[in-house]
């Protein structure tokens, strides 16, 4: 097959997949922001009883694009409605995990360990990953989780309290 024709077919295929993905996302405003990732279902937001200004969001993201998405948890930022940045933390894990490497040495953590413990994630198209994002609210509420090439909405109402 000529190279140009192959590229056109590939591009058309990607366009169809992207269109299907976009349609699939309609009607779930609480789950789709902008960019490649969507919440698979509305995430839950919790409040720690001991830390009344802190919030914890727990959800699962899916890569709705046709390309591999690689993210570093530390690059996720939580923003207010006017774009302000809140103190935040994120990890691609549904619960606590401890790494192998001591953290008092200022050595870098190898990439494979970062992937294991959720400091990084690599998502093939259509794949999902758990994510936990926490932040400190001051005067303004969190509106979205910004991951650089897109964002995910933070649901409005507070769901539950942790038992902290």
């Amino acid at each position: 097959m000529p190279r140009l024709a192959g590229a056109l077919i590939l591009a058309a295929t990607f366009a169809v997949i992207a269109a299907v993905a976009a349609v699939a996302g309609h009607g779930r405003d609480g789950q789709r922001g902008s960019g490649d990732l969507v919440w698979t279902e509305q995430p839950h937001v919790y409040r720690n009883a001991v830390l009344p200004n802190d919030r914890i969001l727990r959800g699962v993201v899916r890569n709705d694009s046709v390309r591999v998405v690689t993210l570093t948890a530390r690059d996720l930022n939580v923003r207010t409605g006017d774009g302000g940045e809140l103190e935040s933390a994120a990890i691609f894990a549904p619960t606590f995990i401890r790494g192998v490497f001591p953290l008092n040495r200022a050595d870098g953590i190898p990439e494979n360990e970062q992937l294991r413990i959720g400091l990084r994630v690599r998502l093939d198209p259509g794949k999902t990953a758990p994510v936990t994002v926490s932040w400190r609210e001051r005067d303004k509420r969190a509106s979205l989780v910004d991951y650089g090439t897109g964002s995910l909405p933070v649901p409005g109402p507070l769901k539950r309290r942790t038992n902290g």
């Binding site: 720690n48 830390l51 995990i97 008092n104 926490s134 309290r161 942790t162």
Partner: protein, 547 residues
């Protein structure tokens, strides 16, 4: 947790695994390590006679005169006449199987060992490379092999007892049944000082029958005493202090005894019987007896801390008294199971090495690591401040007849760890398959907490824990029976009702709110201004003293 949410969590965790590709090599991983055949070994007995070598320093005579009297003084002065070695390593090098190495009062800095460079050029070809245990196809690990330790024993270790020869049997051939003993009347009279120059102050590697006794060891850059792949070991009447990571550590070893040890000032844990014997509840392969562990980030910890019987010991004044878990990759014997804690005192574990002041002290941006005071504990890992005993992803453990009080967060905490989190085990010594593994439900099952006295000091004074028992509600056959508080007080727990023994065989699912709170704590990073106290995580805030 409702089933759809649970399924999503499990699927997400599995997807996370499948999404991972190539990565880079490990930093501080150990070589692939294997359990010895426990039937071929035993805990060494104390030898009072037999061939011996004597080690002393130039001021040993003065120390003997000053510190000892009577029979002990006479014995040490007599030994002094036989002293042929100024360094313990020199005596180890000269020792044959079964030798007693008698170390007279003095400070042993082992200067010849310090002069050996690491990495050792002479052993530059003696590395082992294997698939990273994080996940399949996620890169290679390159670490010093056993040959590296055998040929260049003092590259990483101030004192190395390397037992195996060049054969492939992983069993001791030389330096077996060695006993290294301080000859003073107290451990403090013989001091072995690492000055943070070497990863390990003492390394016993395939050194079956090693017996270490009656001295003080300090200032390793990683482990003060490290016992690896050793069948039969005994550590008795030793003080370990201010190790950058671990005080006493054993790994893939069996037939062991930790007895009358004192451990304080460790950046990770005072004692660490990790990758413990795989007796699967039919036997205990390592005994921890009358240990006193305090002032560490964690008093006792063990990833895959299996088959350990810990009794009549004290764990106090740490951030967390005891933790055992199924978290970390590269630990044979996963998931953790079948340890027992009995008649221990676990109290006042509220020391906070994560305070703002300590955070700033340990922050590399403020102070290069070399300029840290080695007596200041800079935590190597995170732990929930104010916790007596934590089981994170353990199975079939017994916590019985302990006295647990004044831990301001929780007396005992238990939570689940998804199976996929522990990665792979390239040695094939972990249970990383089967329906429960696939369902991510093979941890946090069958733990029993029986007849513990909670919130009451030995003198009968009320000293409550924040909550006596905290459980994330995941698992099956976990149970709590006959635990008691002081007169007029009730056991406190979260959830408020706990199953009695034998517990329910129906697998219960986790409380998602608790799950969220735990996950937020995984983002801790002492070298990041915000993540020193990550939002949403209260583990690093000293809990309010309970009333």
């Amino acid at each position: 947790m409702k089933t759809p949410t649970r399924l999503l969590t499990v699927l997400a965790a599995l997807t996370l695994v499948s999404a991972i590709g190539a990565g880079s090599a490990y930093g501080h991983a150990e070589r692939l390590s294997y359990y010895p055949n426990h039937k071929l070994g035993s805990v060494p007995k104390y030898k009072r006679s037999g061939p011996s070598l004597v080690v002393c320093k130039s001021d040993s005579r003065a120390r003997i005169r000053k510190q000892l009297s009577g029979r002990a003084e006479r014995r040490n002065l007599a030994l002094l006449k036989r002293c042929d070695y100024r360094d313990i390593q020199a005596a180890v090098n000269a020792a044959e199987n079964g030798t007693r190495i008698l170390v007279l009062p003095g400070v042993y800095r082992e200067e010849p060992s310090r002069r050996v460079a690491e990495p050792a050029e002479a052993c530059s070809g003696d590395y082992q490379e294997y698939d990273a245990p994080g996940y399949q196809d996620s890169g290679k690990v390159r670490v010093p092999s056993f040959e590296y330790q055998r040929k260049c024993p003092n590259a990483q270790n101030l004192i190395a007892i390397i037992g195996d020869g060049p054969d492939a049997d992983r069993r001791c051939d030389q330096k077996c049944n060695i006993q290294i003993e301080g000859t003073g009347t107290k451990p403090g009279q013989v001091l072995i000082d690492g000055s943070r120059q070497k990863l390990n102050v003492i390394r016993a590697d395939r050194a079956d029958g090693i017996h270490l006794r009656n001295f003080t060891v300090q200032f390793s850059d990683f482990n003060n005493i490290y016992v690896l792949e050793t069948n039969g070991f005994r550590m008795e009447n030793i003080v370990s202090r201010w190790s950058r990571e671990y005080g006493f550590l054993s790994f893939t070893s069996d037939n062991g005894l930790y007895r009358k040890l004192t451990a304080y000032g460790s950046g990770d844990s005072g004692i660490y019987p990790g990758s413990g014997p795989e007796g699967h509840c039919k036997r205990y392969g390592i005994e921890v007896d009358r240990v006193n562990s305090y002032g560490n980030t964690i008093g006792w910890s063990g990833t895959a801390g299996n088959g350990i019987y810990t009794h009549d010991s004290k764990f106090h004044g740490n951030a967390a008294g005891i933790t055992t878990d199924s978290f970390a990759a590269g630990h044979p014997g996963m998931p953790q199971d079948c340890s027992k804690w009995e008649r221990n005192e676990i109290y006042s574990n509220n020391m906070n090495p994560f305070s703002e002041e300590r955070d700033q002290y340990c922050f590399v941006k403020n102070r290069p690591i070399a300029e840290r005071d080695p007596k200041v504990v800079c935590p190597a890992f995170n732990a929930p401040v104010g916790t007596g005993l934590l089981i994170a992803g353990g199975n079939r453990n017994i916590i019985r007849n302990n006295r647990i009080w004044n831990n301001w967060r929780a007396g005992v905490m238990q939570f689940w760890v998804p199976s996929s989190f522990r990665g792979t085990d390239p040695t094939g010594q972990s249970q990383n398959s089967g329906p429960a593994y696939d369902a991510q439900t093979d941890t946090s099952n069958g733990n029993r907490m029986l007849a513990n006295v909670m919130g009451l000091t030995p003198r009968g004074k009320r000293a409550p824990n924040g909550v006596d028992f905290w459980w994330d509600e995941e698992g099956h056959e976990n149970c709590w029976t006959r635990n008691r508080a002081g007169a007029g007080n009730a056991i406190t727990s979260d959830p408020t009702t706990l199953p009695g023994c034998p517990g329910s065989s129906v697998h219960q699912e986790i409380n998602p709110a608790k799950l969220a709170a735990l996950a937020a704590c995984a983002t801790w990073d002492p070298q990041d201004d915000v993540l020193q106290d990550p939002p949403g995580c209260d583990w690093f805030t000293t809990p309010r003293k309970p009333r």
